[in-house]
Symmetry: C2
Subunit: 81 residues, 2 copies
């Protein structure tokens, strides 16, 4: 599985889907996790079928265990074929 | 109602909501419109409760009637209070 990039803006990864609606399904599942964790990443739906997730801990201004936990849970989603 | 900004990247507007889940509700409604119109904007969910919509006609590389139509339909959504 492709890994998350550690950047000054947080952990970042782009997910590609079969079509737009599959991308939206993924976004809804990410949203459920974000609410359950009370940790809300930025989510960019772009280029029809791609979703970019950006997770940082704003209170700390850096990547923390909350981001690693969130991204691990996001990686467990799917498949969306 | 606040208007859309015409930029080189298309028509852009940021919508603010009471919380994250209201923002997600909005995104799902925008997604339904995008599918019905077969015209898919980029959608950025950011800062917990904000959604930025960016609509351009990629085939033309510019803003066209498709973008004006889409943004008008998006403005008709809600409220999400």
């Amino acid at each position: 599985m492709e890994s998350w990039k550690e950047t000054p803006n947080g952990l970042i990864k782009v997910f590609k889907f079969r079509n737009f609606l599959k991308a939206i399904d993924f976004v809804n599942d990410v949203a459920k996790i974000a609410e359950a964790e009370n940790h809300h990443p930025d989510i960019l739906i772009h280029s029809y079928n791609r979703v970019k997730i950006m997770s940082i801990t704003h209170d700390e201004g850096s990547i923390t265990y909350k981001d690693h936990r969130l991204t691990t849970l996001i990686d467990s989603l799917g498949p969306y074929s």
